[in-house]
Amino acid sequence: MSRVLQARGVVMTFRNGDEETEVLRGIDVALETGELVALVGASGSGKSTLLSILGLLLRPTAGEIEIAGQRVEGMSERARAAFRNQRLGFVFQFHHLLPDFSAMENVAFPAAAPAGGISPEMRRRALSLLDRVGLADRADFPATRLSGGQKQRVAIARALMNKPDLVIADEPTGNLDLRSAGQVLDLMEEVNREDGGTFLICTHDEHVAARCSRRIQLVDGRVQAQDEGSDHRD
């Protein structure tokens, strides 16, 4: 296994006038290829902030971050955007699908926009990903006509479109009913197990965390523990 993510001494301080709030106080985390890791913690523990920093959506106040062998903290905004596009995948609590596009177009979007169009190869991959998430028959459906669970499965397919080194998921089942949430978790586990995809899932749901191979517990901006999960996959 190779190391996908290595963060050392990540500090994040928010300034509001004269008042400073230190949200992350020296975080050290590492993820190996093929891991399915849960990032857990109480509200305000800093897990969403850490996820945003590791997803290159936020710059830390201090610390070093290396993703897929590349140091990212010194990158320009343009380079960070290109890196996010090529190396990272995102799944959010709300699916954020583009309502004016079909399921297939939504999946292909991250590859199509930089390339200037959906090539036949992109279409094939998008359809294969939709097949993977069990929505091959919904490929031409407008995003607005899909159910909540289906939309989140399309969002997972979209996150996988550019074959990312790391998929960052922020409460991916937070908006779903139990059945849909179970399907989404099954899907992520399956992709992790069969394709070796690496997932970092931010959650406050104990059931979700329990299905991950490892959990990173944040308390008050620090990593309190990194435990092996109960690993229900076997």
Binding site: A81, N85, F92, P110, G117, R158
Partner: protein
């Protein structure tokens, strides 16, 4: 181009709003075209009315202005050149000048003339007249006389004279009657009124008499030359350009019709400026309309744009999507506006009053269609620049967390 596909999809996702937006742009373009065609039509009508009975360019001998001469600085001499008045002011080489003029593109007619002042005497009645001696075959070259004859005929002959209705009335003359012409050069001859015309212009109908060039020569003591050459052009708007060229080429004084009608030119310019202001306001309203619609669109699509930015889609792509929306709206509205503007102008131009005249002097073919289409499209693209820029700067994290 994927950005174009996204822009098109955004526009078609809300057809009612897009149709309203394009209609608004088209209305602005229609107003622009109507104003342009009206102002152009008015200028054409006024110009036609003013120049219908007169020349577009007049060539005359140079003026006799005294000139101050300054010598070498070291010698410090100074003197005044006095222009001789011992010779008649005339264009001697008028035949070669006429040939030169005929070769110029855009010249539709010319008339070498001997012009001078005289009195018409009929018994005890005496009237001052402005006499124009011209070649009989070129009688209608500058002023359409023959079509405006109310009595008699247009053949001048060796002793013929054509006068206006007002002058005929003042002297109690009718076609076929004799009248004595006494010029300011002392020439005197009994002529016959061949015809009486009515142009509708007071200055022509009451003050001008036409006779042949050959008849005029002895009367004005001018055996060779002419006093002026009158020129008509296909496009009166080129009069200054042609006059400048002819002045340079012949050394004569060339006066375009505009310089003889400075008040009209001022009025046309003021009218043109008013039109430009209205056109400008039309364009501004188009730009504001497109900008406000796209600002709203960018705001409504914040989370979509945010998610695109999170995926690493470049700011340039987002800018392209919004600017292409502006381009499509401008192009569609511009084309629709051109069609409706042309339709409106053509309809208005076809309306006539009881006398068969068009109440609105509108020129549908002068609506400035290409200009307004380019300006509208550019304006709409420009209008989309601000919303496009602000959309491209949406913080993905902020947009996603909303």
């Amino acid at each position: 181009m994927f950005a174009l596909k996204v822009a098109r999809r955004y526009l078609t996702s809300n057809p009612a709003q897009t149709v309203l937006l394009v209609t608004g742009v088209a209305l602005g373009v229609t107003v622009f075209i109507f104003i342009t065609a009206l102002i152009e039509g008015l200028a054409i009508r006024l110009t036609d009315q003013v120049t219908a009975n007169s020349a577009h360019v007049t060539l005359e001998p140079p003026t006799r202005l005294a000139e101050i001469l300054t010598g070498d600085e070291a010698v410090r001499t100074e003197g005044v050149a006095l222009v001789s008045t011992f010779q008649r002011r005339q264009i001697r080489a008028w035949r070669s000048t006429a040939e030169l003029i005929t070769r110029q593109p855009g010249v539709s007619a010319l008339s070498p003339q001997i012009s001078g002042n005289a009195f018409l005497v009929k018994g005890e009645a005496v009237q001052p007249v402005s006499v124009t001696g011209l070649e009989p075959e070129g009688l209608d070259a500058i002023t359409p006389i023959t079509p405006n004859l109310v009595s008699g005929q247009g053949a001048l002959g060796a002793d013929g004279l054509l006068i206006g209705t007002q002058l005929a009335e003042d002297l109690g003359l009718t076609a076929g009657q004799p009248v004595l012409l006494r010029t300011d050069r002392g020439g005197e001859r009994l002529l016959t009124v061949r015809g009486v015309f009515k142009t509708g212009l007071q200055s022509l109908d009451s003050r001008v008499a036409f006779l042949s060039l050959q008849t005029a020569r002895p009367l004005f003591d001018l055996p060779e030359g002419v006093t002026n050459i009158e020129i008509k052009l296909d496009d009166p708007g080129r009069a200054r350009e042609v006059a400048d060229f002819l002045a340079g080429a012949t050394g004569l004084r060339a006066t375009p019709w505009q310089e003889k009608n400075l008040n009209l030119e001022d009025a046309l310019e003021a009218q043109g400026r008013t039109g430009t202001l209205i056109q400008l306001f039309s364009l501004i309203s188009i730009v504001i309309g497109v900008a406000s619609a796209l600002v709203l669109s960018a705001y409504r699509r914040r989370s979509e744009v945010g998610i695109m930015r999170a995926f690493g889609i470049s700011g340039g792509f987002i800018v392209a999507v919004f600017m292409l929306q502006g381009l499509l709206i401008g192009l569609a509205g511009g084309l629709l506006g051109c069609v409706s503007g042309y339709g409106l102008c053509t309809f208005l131009a076809s309306l006539t009053d009881a006398e068969g005249n068009a109440p609105l002097p509108i020129a549908p073919e002068r609506g400035g269609y290409v200009a307004v289409l380019i300006l509208t499209t550019l304006g709409a693209v420009l209008a989309s620049a601000f919303p496009a820029r602000s959309a491209s700067r949406i913080d993905p994290l902020e947009a996603i967390q909303q």
